[in-house]
């Protein structure tokens, strides 16, 4: 069985567990994103067929919620928290530094697909603001220098 088939089997099981119900659409999209990494058009069409929902409904839900990724993310992901506390403590300046260093804007990936720069509204770690997440590691009380150093480190590791 190819890798793709095994992922499809996992997705099918998730949908079956939820009884192919419309009300479980968000849960299914969450799981689909976990399995595939992002939600592309074919995947959304597939889900809409399986749940017997109009594609417009599934696309509408997937595009409404900012947590769902519709484009393939980079190999490494840097997420800047832009909640109020982080903003007040200079998160914007850190993000600008990353943008300058790698010549990408928020929401974009580098052309080689190695790095994505994303923004989240708040991870709820406001007392340690500003926070930047590099891959799965939360950097508390972040500074430009620490973040750039960390990104260099993870990129070097590939």
């Amino acid at each position: 069985m190819s890798k793709d088939d095994s992922r499809r089997v996992m997705l099918e099981k998730v949908m079956k567990d939820h009884g192919y119900q419309e009300s479980a659409l968000l849960e299914i999209l969450h799981k689909a994103q976990e399995i595939y990494g992002y939600l592309d058009k074919e995947l959304l069409m597939d889900i809409s067929g399986s749940l017997n929902l109009p594609p417009s409904h599934v696309f509408g839900v997937a595009t409404f919620y900012s947590f769902f990724k519709l484009k393939r993310p980079g190999q490494h992901i840097v997420t800047g928290c832009m909640g109020t506390a982080c903003y007040v403590k200079g998160a914007d300046e850190i993000m600008q530094a990353v943008e300058r260093e790698y010549n990408i804007k928020r929401g974009e990936s580098t052309p080689d697909g190695k790095l994505s720069l994303l923004v989240t509204r708040c991870i709820g770690a406001c007392a340690m603001a500003p926070t930047i997440i590099v891959d799965d590691e939360v950097i508390a009380k972040a500074t430009k220098e620490i973040v750039l150093q960390k990104i260099k480190q993870v990129l070097g590791g590939t």
Partner: protein
């Protein structure tokens, strides 16, 4: 498992605890983990063995004590000694001096008793004291005794009466009387009835609900159980943001444990009462915290609000009567049942009883999570608990109520914190965010930041909110780039009033608050931006373009 068994577990657990002389509580919530809490936990487990005191000391993994800026935090009981900035290297010294020699290490203790002095911990009663992954810890602290009391001795009407007597109001922000809401759902026709517990803490800068779920998940579940019994619901949904992985994990575990003790399920504690809880995950939509939007999201649709009436109490999830309640409100319920509504109504002010959790952040010396009685003044929160503004900077404003709250100047610092006073000055209670700003912050830029947030988060249903906010943002772009004219202030005021008056839901109705309050209390700064093209905080008129927020 029946009603008496819960009491037995509590007694066993208390006996078990008594065997230990010390309890070392290591905070392992989202705040302390990035700072190395798990390494500290491991170091304590090793150190107590090394010194041969593992029979005297219980090392426990707990939730948040609130002092998030000095984490990892560790509390040693008895005596509630709070150690700050603990590192694995310091652990040996703490165990040697404190446990073996009985001499607390003064130099490492949290040096700011004022942080706790003015707090009143009801909702966070167990935070930092119990291991959230052990249901027995919660039961030993008197947990689930309230639902036992309800099932054994109280009628649903009696419960609603107690909640009404407590004068508890919804902690999600709007402040609707909880007892009244319960009796509306209880009287509504239609079956089945549902409960939706709202943990979609979308306000940036707020983490009170996350902390509660990570520190004391069973308090939320017990609140849901009592509510379900009172209104006659059989199914509850706990809607939580996906940005909170640790809280999700903690709640999943808590639900599984409650099921295994038959506290949830088809036959709760062998009484015939049936109630089950399912988690539902948000996906990054601020508007989903609104009560009709959260219903749409639980049903698997776009989280868009709808007009009311019909109110969810009569027609909620799938058209059935539904009680929607913030998790902080629910965590208050067990203590109200244990101590009585009359007892609770004496805390806080006569119109706003009880306490409120606030996330205190921004330019403050002691950021963290606090719980204070209603009616405390902003000054006490910012200067006594928060310890003032760091680095000798000057206090400028305090932002109350998240992105749709208000920016209040120092002249209003003596304002008591309650729903009505805050609304009067143009702010809201919201979900309890207090962000302190110093003179490094530009008020025009701050209002712009919140407007951009609301532009992104507007669901697009109501034109005034969708298009009006973009118009407001354009004015702010001009203001911060030096292209604005004096008439633009009138444009801002007009647009804001249209958005406020003509939007369906709370997001649109409160989105203009930051604009209106900064215009009201910091108008000089707007005038300076237009007339002199200067920004006294040095934030605006920079050549460099700010990156677009997606």
């Amino acid at each position: 498992m029946n009603l008496a068994d819960i009491q037995k577990i509590a007694e066993q657990e208390v006996d078990f605890e008594r065997a230990y002389k010390y309890r070392i509580n290591v905070c392992c919530s989202s705040g302390c983990v990035p700072l190395g809490a798990f390494k500290v936990l491991k170091a304590f487990e090793e150190a107590v063995k090394e010194f041969g005191v593992e029979k005297e000391c219980k090392v426990a993994k707990t939730g948040c004590v609130g002092t998030c800026s000095v984490g990892p935090a560790v509390i040693i009981e008895p005596g509630d000694y709070l150690y700050q900035n603990v590192t694995p290297e310091k652990v040996r010294e703490i165990v040697r001096d404190h446990i073996v020699l009985g001499l607390p290490v003064k130099s490492m203790l949290y040096g700011n008793p004022a942080f706790f002095k003015k707090q009143h911990r009801l909702v966070l009663r167990n935070a930092g004291k119990i291991d959230p992954s052990r249901i027995q810890d919660y039961i030993a602290m008197g947990g689930y005794s309230a639902i036992v009391k309800c099932l054994a001795t109280m009628t649903p009407q009696g419960i609603i009466y107690e909640v009404a007597t407590s004068k508890l109001r919804g902690r999600g922000g709007a402040g609707f009387p909880t007892g009244q809401k319960w009796s509306l759902v209880a009287r509504a026709h239609g079956k089945p009835k549902y409960i939706v517990a709202n943990l979609d803490e979308g306000d940036p800068g707020v983490f009170a609900n996350r902390t509660l779920a990570e520190a004391d998940p069973h308090a939320i579940l017990e609140g849901m159980l009592i509510a379900a019994y009172a209104i006659g619901a059989e199914k509850g949904y706990l809607y939580i943001r996906s940005e909170y992985p640790l809280a999700i994990q903690t709640l999943q575990k808590a639900i599984a444990q409650a099921k295994s003790l038959s506290l949830l399920g088809d036959n709760v504690l062998e009484t015939g009462f049936k109630f089950d809880v399912e988690l539902r995950f948000g996906a990054g939509a601020f508007v989903a915290g609104e009560e009709t939007a959260i219903l749409a999201s639980v049903e698997g649709r776009r989280a868009m609000p709808r007009p009311r009436p019909p109110y969810p109490a009569n027609s909620g999830l799938w058209g059935k009567p539904t009680l929607i309640q913030n998790v902080e409100t629910l965590a208050n319920i067990p203590i109200i049942i244990q101590n009585g509504g009359a007892w609770f109504s004496k805390i806080g002010t006569p119109r706003c009883t009880g306490t409120k959790c606030f996330s205190l952040t921004g330019k403050t010396n002691n950021p963290g999570l606090i719980e204070v009685p209603m009616g405390i003044t902003l000054r006490e929160v910012v200067f006594d608990i928060g310890g003032g503004v760091p680095e000798g900077r000057k206090f400028k404003a305090v932002l109350v109520g998240g992105p749709s709250g208000g920016c209040l100047p120092d002249a209003l610092l003596d304002l008591p914190i309650d729903y009505d006073s805050l609304t009067r000055v143009g702010a809201i209670m919201g979900s309890g965010g207090i962000v302190v700003l110093d003179d490094h912050s530009c008020m025009v830029d701050t209002a712009k930041f919140f407007t951009e947030f609301c532009v992104d988060e507007s669901c697009g249903r109501c034109t005034p909110c969708r298009a009006g906010l973009i118009r407001v943002k354009e004015v702010f772009d001009n203001l911060t780039q030096g292209n604005a004219r004096m008439e633009d202030i009138t444009t801002l005021e007009k647009a804001s009033s249209y958005i406020r008056d003509a939007s369906l839901c709370g997001l649109g109705q409160t989105a203009p608050n930051p604009v209106l309050t900064t215009l009201r209390y910091f108008r000089d700064e707007y005038v300076e931006h237009i007339r002199d093209k200067t920004c006294r905080a040095g934030k605006c008129f920079k050549k460099e373009e700010r990156g677009a927020t997606p």
